[in-house]
């Protein structure tokens, strides 16, 4: 108790020095605590982003994988033409539906592409006549996309297109149901419930080119206006039709067995770390991942958390730097104090005080200052870390946005065509640009442990000098 009393007398007897030590500790503890808070806020934001966007895994044919597997029997009795991909390259809808039921999949989507020739009763929308001599082979077609949910198609999601009559395509849409664009509907005087006739849009010799009837269940409007110039029919957004996977497979001249064949499928994962579980579930469902590999696209997640993760990394480095620098500075200050207090140490030693107790007194003094500083840091660091964190984050967000503008992005979850880019057809994912800083007991405990560790190191390392002191030298020779 004697040393505690002496420590108290010393702290109150030299208030200037006590304040200086508290101030120094306050700066160190505030920076360390701010670092911890930024890190934990970043971790929370990353978790939240993970839950919000998950990650998108894409499953599609890998031609090299198919060839390597030796299963490409397209030219041997499958009815396919030589050089084409056989049925082993068909990604069946029923297989993908099984994978969609995996517990790690939050949502899934898939598309099938196809084309259809106009018929006598169903004409293309061509506001500008075909220029004389223009070859229209392979372009005077409707573009037919088979989709699972029309609302998930990026053009509908981002508002470029919207259903204006009837309903869209859904998982329960029948094979012979179709949604047409307003201009095609007007051109052919179509209304909901009318029937259109379309011819299989496949030019390969030997492929069935029969006509099939589809019932118009919905009419949509695309916001892209006519250019006033000739555009090949298939390139005109007005000639875009949507139907079921089976319908698109049928018009694409492919089999409709197993619910039709897909171009690719996308799975929205609840957690980007769940890719391996998805692959396991896909294998269990019967997928050959050599032919249909699954790869994750966590671009959206990375866009969201990239800047905040960089800020968190910076905060981590700062915590370490400040902790090390703080320890060194405090050790120097304490060493300097010890030097100043040689006389006092000599007096106490001459009275027979034990050296460890002298060290203990110093430790108590420094720890007392540290405790006050930690308490003050607890009050101030929430505001400071929010200000520092947001400032740092703003810089990272700016550079992330610049990077994003310059970067060519892969296709997103909703668009399995592989044609679209995030920048033009997906709602833009903005990085997280603010920190939600909360000071919790664990943060205080961490900074408390760090602060007290620094106090102990800063006292004990220079304090070894105390153990070498000789009272006679101090008292008779002075400092």
């Amino acid at each position: 108790m004697n040393l505690c009393k002496r420590a108290w007398w010393r702290l109150t007897g030299a208030p200037g020095k006590t304040l200086m030590l508290v101030g120094l500790f306050f700066v160190v503890c505030t920076l360390v605590l701010s670092g911890f808070l930024i890190r934990s806020a970043a971790a929370r934001a990353a978790d939240s982003a993970k839950n919000r966007v998950g990650a998108v895994a894409t499953m599609q044919l890998d031609v090299n994988g198919l060839l390597a597997s030796g299963k490409n029997n397209g030219s041997e009795g499958s009815g396919q033409n030589p050089g084409t991909i056989g049925s082993a390259g068909d990604l069946r809808r029923d297989l993908v539906d099984k994978i969609c039921k995996s517990s790690v999949v939050a949502d899934c989507n898939y598309t099938a592409d196809g084309a259809a020739f106009p018929t006598k009763t169903t004409k293309l929308y061509q506001p500008v006549p075909v220029p004389a001599g223009q070859d229209t082979t392979g372009t005077d077609l409707f573009k037919v996309d088979g989709v699972r949910k029309l609302g998930e198609v990026s053009a509908f999601r981002n508002g470029d297109s919207k259903t204006i009559a009837g309903k869209g395509i859904g998982p329960d849409t029948k094979r012979n149901e179709i949604v047409v664009e307003e201009r095609v509907a007007k051109e052919n005087k179509l209304e909901i419930g009318d029937t259109v006739k379309l011819k299989i849009g496949e030019l390969m010799p030997g492929v069935d080119t029969s006509e099939h009837e589809f019932e118009v269940i919905g009419i949509y409007k695309n916001g892209t206006a006519d250019t006033g110039q000739y555009v090949p029919a298939m390139m005109d957004p007005a000639n875009q039709l949507y139907t079921s996977i089976e319908g698109a497979s049928l018009l694409g001249g492919r089999t409709t067995d197993g619910g039709g064949t897909l171009k690719s499928a996308t799975f929205k994962l609840t957690d980007p770390q769940d890719l391996d579980r998805l692959k396991d579930d896909a294998k269990k469902a019967g997928a050959d991942l050599q032919i249909f590999p699954i790869s994750v696209n966590d671009k959206q997640y990375r866009t969201l958390v990239g800047p905040i993760a960089k800020t968190a990394n910076f905060a981590t480095v700062t915590v370490w730097l400040v902790a090390v620098a703080g320890t060194i500075i405090l050790a120097l200050v304490v060493a300097s104090n010890l030097r100043e207090r040689r006389g006092e140490l000599g007096i106490l030693l001459s009275l027979g005080e034990k050296k460890p107790k002298l060290l203990g007194q110093h430790l108590i003094e420094v720890v007392a200052c540290a405790v006050i500083a930690i308490a003050l840091a607890g009050v101030g660091s929430q505001f400071i870390s929010e200000a520092i964190g947001n400032k740092l984050l703003a810089g990272e967000v700016e550079s992330a946005n610049e990077e994003a503008e310059n970067e060519s992005l892969p296709s997103d979850y909703s668009d399995t065509s592989g044609m679209s880019k995030q920048g033009d057809d997906q709602p833009k994912t903005d990085p997280i640009d603010s920190l939600d800083v909360h000071l919790g007991p664990s943060d205080i405990a961490k900074v408390g442990a760090t602060g007290l560790g620094i106090a102990a190191l800063a006292t004990l390392v220079p304090g070894t000098r105390v153990l070498r002191l000789n009272p006679r030298d101090i008292l008779t020779k002075g400092n």
């Binding site: 007398w9 000789n470 008292l475």
Partner: protein, 238 residues
């Protein structure tokens, strides 16, 4: 070597050998230079006596005090407390339990007030007292420190007051031997006489051994024995 058996003091107190310097030498080395400060000093100090150690400046008085009070160890020879080498007892324990020193430079703890300086020393030396604070006040009062001055930090006290606080601190430790290095240097004649009286009482009435290093003839005259330190040798006078 002088030897003194247990006996009776002229003032009636019990005398017994308490501290023995046995062939003590102390040499200091600075680089290749060696300086012999004390050379084979032998002497036995008795309880119940007050000693004065005198000698010219640089004669080694402070060194002798350091060795005898356990602040330093001799280069050769031994310092014995009640027949036991203090090196065996441990210099820290020896200082803590058996001796107290009043330094020439006062050496008070400046962040404490007078009472705290005294009670702090009592706690360190393990003085079991019902009320250390009361005892500290008694001693400070005995040495003429007014109550209002006792609560002031020592730096706010005059040199003479600081000297008396330092003496009170040494007295409070209830040790067997009291060393004092020029204890009256900062005091006026009257105050110095008061201090000497306290030391005499301590030796003659309480049976303690008081060893004073001094330049003052008056102080030396008030002591029971005077020892002269000259050229590294301790020579009893008279």
């Amino acid at each position: 070597m002088t030897s003194t058996p247990t006996g009776t003091h002229a003032h009636g107190g019990t005398t017994a050998p308490i501290l023995e310097l046995a062939d003590v030498s102390r040499t200091y080395s600075t680089g290749s230079r060696r300086r012999v400060v004390l050379k084979s000093v032998s002497y036995i100090f008795e309880a119940g006596h007050m000693y004065a150690i005198v000698g010219p400046s640089g004669s080694g008085k402070t060194t002798l005090l350091s060795l005898a009070s356990g602040l330093d160890a001799p280069t050769s020879g031994s310092v014995r407390f009640k027949g036991r080498d203090v090196a065996e007892v441990g210099l820290g324990t020896y200082r803590n339990r058996h001796v107290a020193t009043v330094f020439q430079s006062l050496n008070l703890l400046t962040y404490m007030n007078a009472v705290q300086n005294v009670t702090s020393a009592m706690e360190i030396t393990g003085v079991r007292s019902g009320s250390r604070k009361r005892r500290a006040n008694e001693l400070l009062g005995l040495l003429g420190i007014e109550p209002e001055d006792r609560a002031r930090r020592t730096l706010q006290l005059s040199g003479g007051q600081q000297q008396r606080v330092a003496i009170a601190r040494a007295l409070a430790c209830e040790v067997d031997i009291l060393f004092a290095d020029e204890p009256t240097g900062a005091l006026d004649h009257e105050a110095a006489a008061g201090i000497i009286e306290v030391f005499q009482k301590l030796a003659h009435d309480d049976g303690k051994c008081v060893i004073v290093v001094t330049h003052s003839r008056d102080v030396a005259a008030a002591c029971d024995k005077t020892l002269v330190l000259k050229r590294g040798k301790l020579i009893p006078q008279g």
